[in-house]
Assembly symmetry: C2
């Protein structure tokens, strides 16, 4: 059996007398594993001094001084700002950035992960669309490279940085409810993705605090994209029970929502109140300026790159680090009491 820095998940499995899959399930805090087995695995992990990201870090003998980055779409401005900031930190440390664009395609993401690991990237920054489940987390383990997860659900063993979408969406929803809105639409991504689920959680929390029941027909999930924002908004505005306010819950979605509103000849905020997610020139210079949830995408990039460099260089603690960055509500002139 390997010792110290050459440990793998297989050594843990052997030491605990269980399968590799079981170790993986325990590492990912899967509740289906019996408590007794969990304890055995944890004892083995402790005895051996094992931590997957930590092990991946110390096992890599040959360094390439490159870091891979997989995101959905580099041409979305806030994601470009994230990449730019991460690049600067990596560049300063002498690392080059291998950038890829997954288009949110799950097959492509797996292929990109394999390619980057074949190229022996020293670490990877991942903002994936593939849901974090047991099978996929196992797959990530087999890549044997330090990773940092960006604004996504994270395997329990991996480093991560996220923005607090729950907090700002709760405040935005509360703001609309306080103005008197009772039909507040929210358009956001798939519910199994961190930013979407957190926004919905904030939306529900505010409704609960006001004792207002949210209409399920006003929650449109499935995509963060501008085109989907346009279709969902058009559909909502064509329905009999129109919303009086909308939260565009995706960084690329506001333009689509505003186009649908304009096409329906509605005025913001007289006919409909609008809130955006992520700041932009469009939100700032629109007439009226649009209130938004804002967070620092540059900071997301800097923290992600910093966590990964710590991990690669061996300066990170063994335990994974999860950083939650604050968001804020920027109040402009796009909301008013319902007409």
């Amino acid at each position: 059996m390997s010792k110290g820095p050459n440990l793998t998940i297989r050594d843990v499995a052997q030491s605990a007398g269980v399968s590799v899959g079981t170790v993986s399930r325990v590492l990912n805090r899967n509740e289906t594993v019996r408590a007794e087995i969990r304890d055995r695995v944890h004892r083995a992990i402790e005895t051996l001094g094992f931590s997957p990201n930590y092990v991946a870090q110390s096992m890599r003998s040959r360094t390439t001084r490159t870091v891979g980055c997989i995101i959905r779409e580099i041409s979305i401005p806030p994601l470009a700002a994230f990449v730019r900031a991460a690049h600067d930190v990596l560049h300063e440390a002498g690392y080059a950035l291998l950038l890829t664009n997954s288009e949110g395609d799950i097959e492509r993401e797996r292929e990109l992960l394999k390619r980057l690991s074949r190229r022996q990237a020293d670490g990877m920054m991942l903002g994936l669309y593939t849901p974090s489940d047991a099978e996929f987390d196992d797959f990530l383990l087999t890549l044997n490279v330090p990773i940092v997860v960006v604004d996504r659900d994270t395997p329990a063993w991996a480093d991560a940085v996220m923005a607090d979408h729950h907090h700002s969406t709760q405040i935005m929803t509360d703001h609309l409810l306080t103005l008197g809105h009772r039909r507040i639409a929210i358009l956001t991504g798939r519910e199994d993705m961190f930013p979407a689920r957190e926004r919905l959680r904030g939306y529900h929390a505010a409704h609960a605090a006001h004792g207002v029941a949210a209409d399920p027909l006003l929650m449109r999930t499935g995509s963060f994209l501008a085109n989907s924002g346009f279709s969902a908004m058009s559909e909502l505005l064509g329905s009999r029970q129109r919303p009086t306010a909308v939260i565009a819950g995706g960084i690329d979605m506001l333009s689509g929502v505003l186009k649908a509103i304009r096409l329906n000849d509605l005025a913001v905020p007289r006919d409909i109140s609008v809130l955006g997610t992520g700041d932009s020139s469009l939100a700032e210079l629109y007439d009226p300026p649009i209130s938004v949830e804002r967070w620092d995408q540059g900071e997301v990039g800097r923290v992600a790159a910093g966590l990964l460099l710590d991990r690669i260089s061996g300066h990170a603690p063994r335990a994974p680090r999860h950083v939650l960055l604050p968001t804020e509500f920027v109040l402009r002139q796009s909301t008013a009491p319902p007409g």
Copy 2:
């Protein structure tokens, strides 16, 4: 002396009996070289079958299947769209993209070029801020890697892709002159950079065609950035002889110009006509929608990646290829006759 695929600029110099610098000046069509010397160098080039990009392509024995890309600022949306399209073509061909961000800093650009060539990138896509002069073109030659230049002045031996900014700026200026404007401001980058110089050329050509003298005080060059657009526009609006129209001649500049106009409580197009460069959600959804020079940044990326892959794979002709992509004028509601 090396033969065939192992030729370098040194072999050409030796064969012609001149210095390496002289060969470089001839390759870059520098007029300061005497005709007799030029002929000698050209004969040597022909006899040896030399072409720098071609030689760089065939000399590289070890391939890394990576392509380096140096641009000013990944977080400017049109540049991100360029990177995204180039990435897709490269990815399809099995190449990874090493992305860097130069911030338009000349020292940093040289360092990035050295780093990428040390990493043995198989080719490089360059949208640099460093002016193309004899010394710099020599430096590029010494890197000995195929390059494609993007929307910049190009060493005569290198492949390139550019957008036809001259054409669209001439049309935009003509449109304003036809409406009756006589004080048309143009804000754009340094005059020694291709997009800025071409825009100014179009601006002057339209004035000449209308027999109108352009006021030099209305031409503000030096930067393509939004902040500079804001300062230059604020200054112009604070001057005694205000412009009645403005062309924001940088892909990132429109937001700064619009902010300055708003801060001065002026209405578009009643008080001032505004034209932008490069389309965006802001231009499309602003009230009123802003007319712009538009070109396909995705196509720029696809063509640049295609030219480079041809060069890397040895499928390109020996002679460099320069592709000029069309631009168009998208007429919206941001112009009117001067008040």
